[in-house]
Every structure is written in structure tokens, then in C-alpha cells.
């Protein structure tokens, strides 16, 4: 399987950006973005989609982390 050309890469990135925008607009309801999801799946190699999903999870986690949502547990110090 040949690697995607520049045009194919850009089409894939465009589909990803659309899909992510939709997810950002519908944080609760991922089902709204089903059509964009299938468009993503047709534009990008499967490995890339897996990679982008992981990347999105990471970026969301990073946002939450930087917003301070994860605090260290207040357990008694054990030494």
C-alpha cells in the first residue's frame, strides 16, 4: 500500500479537522458527527484514524490537566 500523496494527506487532515470541530460543537452527543466520521474513514488510512483518535484523547486530557481538573489525592503521607 503506497503512502498517501500530499493531496490525499491534505484531504485526510481536512476531514479530521471537520470531524473534530463537530465533536467540539457537540461535546455530549458524538452521534451527531457520524457522517463526518464516515467521511474521515474514507479519506484516511486506518492507522491514521487510530492515531488521530488517540491524539484527540491526549489533547482533551491535556486541556483538562492544564485547567487543573486533576488534583493529587489528599492522602496522609506514608513514609
Amino acid at each position: 500500500m503506497a503512502a498517501p500523496s500530499m493531496k490525499e494527506r491534505q484531504a485526510c487532515w481536512g476531514a479530521r479537522d471537520e470531524y473534530w470541530k463537530c465533536l467540539d460543537e457537540n461535546p455530549e452527543d458524538a452521534a451527531q458527527c457520524k457522517k463526518l466520521r464516515s467521511s474521515l474513514e474514507s479519506s484516511c488510512p486506518r492507522q491514521w484514524i487510530k492515531y488521530f483518535d488517540k491524539r484527540r484523547d491526549y489533547l482533551k486530557f491535556k486541556e483538562k490537566f492544564e485547567a487543573g481538573e486533576f488534583q493529587p489525592p489528599k492522602t496522609a503521607a506514608k513514609s
Binding site: 492507522q47 491514521w48 492515531y51
Partner: protein
């Protein structure tokens, strides 16, 4: 030399130094104890009885300054010699590294064999990646060729050779590399080779890479360290740039290295 020339005269004069802070009566004939241990020059000296004997303060200061300057000169000369010797050793070590280290034996995207010596005399910006890379490699390569284009546009700067070396030799053969590099820059050279050759060049440049698991399509992603390496015209590794640096920052840095460059190979 100055010190040696001054020495006899200075030492001679030192013997004529009087002990300080003795009061003098006008007219100068000795009413106070004079240290007779210090020899005098002879008859010529006696004529100068009414004048202050021996070198005055100014003369003593002058002699001290001259001796000090002489010693200082010797010290500076020795320090300069030591620095020259250290510089010679450093240059020799660099020369050996320029020839011996970071060498590679790969094939470019036109099928021609290439090694590091082929790029001697040119500044090289190189990036390690693979053609099936989802986003990072295209972005970094785009940044790299942007730097090359920026520097190309400046008159008086030598051209920079962009290199793309694959860390996925299993899939990235000569044809795949040719197909990939054409999208970026006409002078971007893709380099590939056998698994051993790629392993060797990656070791030389401390590049980590690890192919991930294959999926149903036999596709996989290669995890790898991300950096753009700068080699100087002697073939010595000079600097590296990570994801955080913009094209402008990289171009600035390359310009500075170009201005400071002095070859060790001629």
C-alpha cells in the same frame, strides 16, 4: 626580553636604595645614620652628596612597573601559547570527527549511492521520518523546506541541502521516497537503504525509532524521535531543532552558524 634588558640596571640601582623616611637637613650632609652596607658607585656619587641619594620614589615606581610589565608579558605569552596548543588539539579532534563520525552509506531517491563525504562543502539540514507518517513528518519537512527557501532567498548565503532519511526501510524504498519528496522541494533528497544501513545512520545521529504493530492492512506507524539536524560543510553535527522551533527561529540559528563557521578540514 624587556625584563632581561632592564635587570642589570634595575638590580644595580636597587643596591643604591636608601632606607625610607629619614629626615634630611637642608644641604644634605649626612647628619643621620646611613646604611653603609649599600655600596656606592664611587667618586661620581660623592659629588651628589647634597642631592637626594639613590633613586627617588618616581624611579623606584618606574622600575617596579617595568619589572611588573615584564612579568606580565611573560605570563601573557605563556597563556597564549597554552591556548594555541589547546586549540590545535581541539581542531585535530574535530577533524577526526568530521571524517569519521556520522558517516552513512545510503541510496538517494534516484537510486544513487550516497555517503556523508558527498555533502562536504555544503550545509545540510536533515530530518529522520517515514512516508506513512500521519502528520508530524509532513509538518516538520514543510518547516525544513521553508527554512531552506528563506535562506535561498538571501543573497550571499550558501545553499542548504535538505535531506530526508527514512526510519522505515521496509516500506520506504527508492520509488516510495521519490514519490514522497517531490511534494516538498526540488532539492529535497530522500535517502533510504537496507535495515542495517538505516540502523547505522540512526545510531550515528542518536535517532530512536520503533515500528509499531501492524494492523489488518499491514499498516503501522513508526514511533521516532523528532529533530532537524544541522551539519556544517565539514560534515560535523552543529545543532538540532525540535518541534517547538519555528522556521524563522531555525533560519536565524542557521544564519548565525554560517557566520561563525571556520573549516577544520583545509
Amino acid at each position: 626580553m624587556l625584563l632581561l634588558a632592564q635587570a642589570p640596571k634595575a638590580w644595580h640601582r636597587l643596591f643604591q636604595l636608601k632606607p625610607p623616611a629619614l629626615p634630611r637637613t637642608p644641604g644634605g650632609e649626612a647628619q643621620h645614620v646611613r646604611c653603609r652596607l649599600l655600596s656606592r658607585q664611587g667618586p661620581a656619587e660623592t659629588g651628589r652628596q647634597d642631592q637626594p641619594q639613590g633613586p627617588g620614589l618616581r624611579t623606584r615606581l618606574l622600575i617596579t612597573a617595568l619589572i611588573g610589565a615584564g612579568l606580565g608579558g611573560v605570563w601573557l605569552a605563556m597563556r597564549a601559547e597554552k591556548e594555541r596548543w589547546q586549540q590545535r588539539r581541539r581542531t585535530e579532534a574535530l577533524r577526526q570527527a568530521a571524517v569519521g563520525q556520522g558517516d552513512f552509506s545510503l541510496r538517494d531517491h534516484r537510486g544513487q549511492a550516497r555517503c556523508k563525504a558527498d555533502f562536504r562543502g555544503q550545509w545540510v539540514l536533515m530530518y529522520f521520518g517515514f512516508t506513512h507518517c500521519p502528520d508530524i513528518c509532513p509538518e516538520e519537512l514543510e518547516k525544513l523546506v521553508q527554512v531552506v527557501r528563506q535562506l535561498e532567498a538571501e543573497p550571499g548565503l550558501p545553499p542548504v541541502q535538505p535531506l530526508f532519511i527514512t526510519v522505515d526501510p521496509e516500506r520506504d524504498d527508492v520509488a516510495a521516497m521519490a514519490h514522497y519528496v517531490q511534494d516538498f522541494h526540488p532539492r529535497l533528497l530522500g535517502l533510504t537503504g537496507s535495515a542495517e544501513q538505516v540502523a547505522q545512520v540512526s545510531r550515528s545521529y542518536r535517532v530512536y525509532y520503533s515500528a509499531g504493530p501492524k494492523d489488518e492492512d499491514q499498516d503501522y506507524i513508526v514511533d521516532h524521535s523528532i529533530a532537524i539536524y544541522l551539519l556544517n560543510p565539514d560534515g560535523l553535527f552543529t545543532d538540532y531543532y525540535g518541534r517547538a522551533r519555528s522556521a524563522e527561529q531555525v533560519a536565524d540559528s542557521v544564519r548565525r552558524h554560517m557566520a561563525a563557521f571556520r573549516s577544520v578540514l583545509h
